[in-house]
Symmetry: C2
Subunit: 205 residues, 2 copies
């Protein structure tokens, strides 16, 4: 792609560093900015830089936060003995949206994935094990995605905390609400039968 | 969507102002930036701001340029009597990539589109008409997209310059090279038959 302006080229190149944004999309976005008022680009540039420089991670759960300890960890009304282990902050947001969880979170920051060069030491696993060691946690819920990497990570953490007195659980796998049985994959359908729940308890939700 | 950090929220909101980028995509992009070195976000922010503030438009053809008159308009080896009218700078880049055009361009900056509130005066039409008035242009090639808006814009310009001594043409519409006839739409197929070319001239390309 040949550009008639070095400034434009640099902006497009920087934009296309972002995941899922190719040169064409980057060019479309940059040309859109040129049609908008200058203030809009300034606002975007400043928001990104301030965010990158000033954002903090909660020192307890590693969730993104503006303060040292995030709102969830600082909330005395939540169950501090129940911790849900998730991959990243998007999962925290997704679970918070359901309003059905009143414990705390622990954000790992990824999954163990040798293919991508991510080992246990690149993730926030040590701080989780330490929390368990302190004995304040009664139950740990694994809420990682159900992939090879997710399962590996679950198992790694499980092995690390096995010796301590903590109950571990994993979120239920089954047929999505509203899905047709015939289109479900075999493993999910199989698990949903093995892990069936009393009909009366399903009425409560 | 509830965010645990105002900084993150602001960055996501600004990002999602861009066309085709929703809140979820914006969040994905912003979280990616958090995993990369700070310098990368700084570079992106600076590139966008410099581009927005310092980029110039060629005063002759309105193409994006770092100087007052763009490289194409300043090139004495190009045919200054042949002008190709395009919608935006992406079209200039696309035509330049083919290496088959040696004239100049005129970038309108859009198409007449009452639905989007874009009238003739929002586009670089006056400067084109003035160029034609000066009598230096022999041929004007319309290379707008073949939509209602494109055709309207072509016709509007044609009416404005009709009285002057200039030959107008439009790029050929036909079956794309490599396309199957049976999948072509009727209008394109019809035009490709009406505007058929001598077989020998098709051998030259």
């Amino acid at each position: 792609m040949e550009f008639s302006s070095k400034l434009l080229e640099r902006a497009v190149n920087e934009m296309s560093q972002l995941p899922g944004i190719g040169k064409r999309t980057a060019l479309r976005l940059v040309l859109h900015m040129l049609k908008q008022p200058k203030e809009q680009t300034t606002a975007l540039a400043e928001a990104l830089q301030t965010m990158r420089n000033d954002v903090k991670f909660c020192k307890s759960c590693h969730n993104i936060s503006d303060v040292e300890v995030c709102e969830i960890c600082a909330n005395p009304n939540r169950d501090h003995t129940l911790v849900c282990v998730v991959e990243d902050i998007r999962d925290v947001m997704a679970i918070e949206n359901t309003s059905s969880f009143k414990g705390l979170y622990h954000v790992l920051g990824g999954k163990i994935s040798p293919m991508d060069g991510i080992g246990p030491h690149d993730l926030n696993i040590n701080s989780l094990v330490n929390k368990v060691k302190e004995g304040k946690i009664k139950e740990l819920i694994f809420a990682l995605s159900s992939t090879m990497e997710g399962d590996t990570t679950n198992f790694y953490i499980f092995k690390q905390i096995q010796e301590f007195n903590v109950f571990t659980s994993t979120i239920a796998r089954g047929i999505s609400v509203g899905d047709e049985l015939e289109y479900a994959d075999e493993i999910t359908l199989g698990r949903s039968i093995v892990n069936r729940v009393p009909f009366e308890s399903s009425l409560k939700l």
